[in-house]
């Protein structure tokens, strides 16, 4: 006979869960009106206790771990489940985990991608399908320029993030939907491997904004390259 059980977790971590619930309660600002949520103040305090800055990619990673509903907001369910899954039911364990993450994040594309994709969720407000361009560029700066980033999107010869921002604010001027957000990471990684963007062609499935960006880069920043290619 076989027994179906929901994994080994629940029984083991029930103690951990209550620890985490108690920890969550500690940061709440308004237990009466918002019993399962922490707003900006509590969130900041939590950041302080963990010794991480709210304006850093590590903070975004934290948001992802606890599946925060928005920047500077925490919700009980995500907080408890997130930390339970990582076996970090005390502040010290959490602090240790975050310290470790700071060391591993720059070299882990996988972890970075998770944070990157979740950032879109954080950046949009309510039921909107897209995030405003200004917000998107701020987050791109945070994600692609941070020293903890696994995808630092610029090289000695090509300041890609700056170009991307410049292009978007000067010619694109529209909001950023999820597809564009996700494809941008894919594109960024490919440009880092192939500066000449030979991976790109008109027939591929890039969103048209990226097609236009490629044209823009070629026109504005790649004239010399083009000439050299001709000579070859």
């Amino acid at each position: 006979l076989r027994y179906f059980s929901g994994g080994g977790g629940p029984t083991v971590s029930s103690g951990a869960k209550s620890n985490l619930n108690r920890q969550f309660d500690k940061y709440r600002e308004d237990a009466a009106n918002n019993p399962d949520g922490i707003a900006i103040e509590g969130t900041m305090k939590y950041h302080n206790d963990l010794d991480i800055s709210l304006e850093d990619i590590i903070s975004l990673a934290l948001h992802e771990i606890v599946q925060a509903p928005a920047i500077g907001e925490l919700a009980r369910e995500g907080f408890v489940d997130g930390w339970t899954a990582l076996n970090c039911d005390t502040l010290d364990k959490q602090k240790g985990y975050m310290k470790n993450l700071q060391n591993t994040l720059p070299s882990s594309k996988e972890a970075f991608t998770k944070v990157y994709k979740y950032t879109f969720q954080l950046a949009k407000t309510g039921n909107q399908k897209a995030i405003p361009l200004e917000a998107a560029t701020v987050y791109w700066g945070l994600l692609f320029k941070s020293s903890y980033s696994a995808v630092k999107w610029s090289t000695a010869t090509s300041p890609w993030v700056d170009w991307w921002e410049e292009f978007l604010t000067s010619s694109w001027k529209k909001s950023v939907n999820r597809d564009m957000w996700n494809e941008t990471l894919k594109f960024a990684q490919m440009t880092l491997q192939d500066e000449d963007m030979s991976f790109w062609n008109e027939e591929s499935s890039w969103p048209s904004v990226i097609d236009e960006f490629v044209e823009w880069v070629k026109k504005n920043h790649r004239k010399e390259d083009g000439a050299e290619a001709m000579e070859e």
């Binding site: 399908k129 597809d179 996700n182 008109e202 027939e203 591929s204 499935s205 969103p207 048209s208 097609d211």
Partner: protein, 829 residues
Amino acid sequence: MIAGRGRQRIRPPRRGLHGDEIDFENTWSTIASAFREIHTKNASRLSYEELYRHAYKVVLKKKGEELYKRVCDFEHEWLSSEVRSAIQALFSPNLSAGTQSLGGTTANERRVAGEKFFKGLKQAWGDHQICMSMLADVLMYMDRVYCHDHRRPSIYTAAMVLFRDDILHAPTSDVDGKEVLRLLNHVILDQIQMERDGDVIDKHLIKSCVHMLDSLYQDEDEAEDQRLYNTSFEAAYLETSREFYRQEADFLLRDSDAGAYCRHTRRRLYEEEERCRSTLLDVTQPKIQQVVEDELIKNRIHELVEMESGVRFMIDNDRLDELNLIYDLNSRVDDKKAELMRAIQKRIVELGTDINNAAIAASQAPVSAPMPLEAGDKVKAQMPEKSLNQQTVAAIRWVEDVLQLKDKFDKIWEVSFQQDQPLQTALTRSFADFINSPAFPRSSEYISLFIDENMKKGIKGKTEMEVDAVLEKAIILLRYVQDKDLFERYYKKHLCRRLLMNKSISNDVEKAMISKMKIELGNNFTLKLESMFKDMTISEELTSGFKKHVEGLGDKDPKRIELAINVLTSMTWPLETMGSGDDAEGSRPRCIYPTAIERIKRGFEKYYNEKHSGRQLTWLGNMGSADIKAVFPKVPQKDGSFKERRHDLNVSTYGMVILLLFNDLPADQHLTFEEIQAQTNIPKTDLIRNLQSLAVAPKTRILIKDPMSKDVKSTDRFFFNEGFIGRFVKIKVGVVSSGNKVESDRERRETEKKNDDSRGFCIEAAVVRIMKQRKELSHQALIIETLNQLVGQFKPEVNMIKKKIESLIEREYLERVEGVKIDSYRYLA
């Protein structure tokens, strides 16, 4: 018995076995002297039987090898002394003189010397053959026993080889050491060259020499392709011919025209074929043909096609037979006829582009100096008829010109290109190229206008067959049009006006056109057009039904207004193209109708709602017209007459609404523009246009405008014109600008935008259809399938498809499949 049969053999007579010993030397000298007699043609005295017996005995006594060797030596001796000297006697300096070295020898002298040489050789060869066959008869037993057992060639064959070595391979003289064989080749080639230059030569004579070469082999193996003819003569022949034709092509391209070149080439091909038959051997035919085709056609076809008198010239001057020659030549060397095809396509696109440009030039011909934008509308109001008409003429001209071009090339294809399939495809492609050229976005509109013009005027008085021909013309052009959706849009617009304004000459012809389009473009294409006709039929029924309904009410009012109505399904009819299109849908201000009109309007609404509940009727005052009986009072006229005048005025609905305002107004009172606007609520642009036709147009000045000027301003005042004089009882007050004309640029942009929008929907629908069925599909495959699905309607830009896919991702109909090598999408149910 039967089984034993196979073993039966003819045995040599046995009696000689213990016969007398023979003296070989004696016997041989007898044989040899007899052979000498044979060679000197004195064989008649000889006894075959005796000689045979001698040879037989020798072989029987195992002296076969000795005999064989002696015969060979004998023949060698004979050939290299007697025969060779006879041949050498035929040499003369004239013979070896090349065609180039004109040193005093005329072609005629060379020919005579050559023929003498041929004759000598032919004679020697013929003699040798005859003698050797006699010898072979005598030596039959040697052949059969000695040669067979020792695997030696028969004596006849050996003697032929000797002829080759002792005669043909002999030097012609001790000095230059040229072989007789090479001289022979040279002389044959020289004579053939003479024939190519127009001389008559003795073909039979040459042919006999050729046969000689054909029956001798290069070496002892006697392989089929090692005949002297092939190894020695034919190779030289092909090489010199190649050189000759290369030079001839140079010369012809320089000094002749393309047609003559073709004819010449054809003649050369025929000559060479003939030559192989009469002078040389048939085996050479495909090879020499290849040479001529290479040198005169394959290597030159590009130059030939491009000559000043080449394909372009032939097309322009309808040189059908010459085009046929080029076609024939080109197809000999190239199945695809690439050069000809390229030239033809280029010319079609050139001529087509000329037609396009002429149409654009014609449509822009009037003095339409660039006007400031605000003034644009007024200018349009003043001189629109002429310039718009000119554009319509340009459109019709374009259609006729394109058809004429098509006729021209159809004829070329039929007569000159032997209805070649690939060429037909190429022709079609080229026509489609210029018809759909991005530089000429008007094809759809022009074709629709062509039909429109014919429906309204063109087919008047034509027989059924002639009408059918006209419709067929339109269909022919329509086949080339890539963006069928754009055509549909224009056709709907034009049809809409024809139907609503009753401009169509024949409903049957309209329907015939629709069914032609249905065959050509499918049900989907004509669905909306057909429903327009259906609306018209239903409207007729509604009108008569309503009339009966009103009569049934019993209220017999002599002043009753009759209502004819068209109820149009809003999505089907391109109503925005009728009149004022600048009001966004829904925000159209409601016209205030006079009470009598309003009453009948309500009556109809009620009647309609009883029949079809839940449908909303929107009244389009800008599209209707009204017949009014107008009475102009007795006022003194310029011609002195003094009487009441009655006119039947046909005005637009808005015009009617405006005029009725003056019914209740004393004659000397006026209404300002603003008052009229306030009392009727007619949109400003419509009001201006209607007032222009009622107060400005000279023949229909039923109102007087103050101050009198062409432009209508909001401060103008209007009076009823009591002194109006009309020449006819029935007067039609036309409203400025209507009828189907070529669009203005602004209109065209709008049409195109609308078209783009509806294309967007089509693309999205196609993508969703495909993805729904396939669930997951790569980006490439999705693009291709989408293009395939839409091919009958239009050719979407790939970029547009891409944007639509993006939009579908955004709206979560699709998602990208993560972690796969090929970019793919998944359908989200």
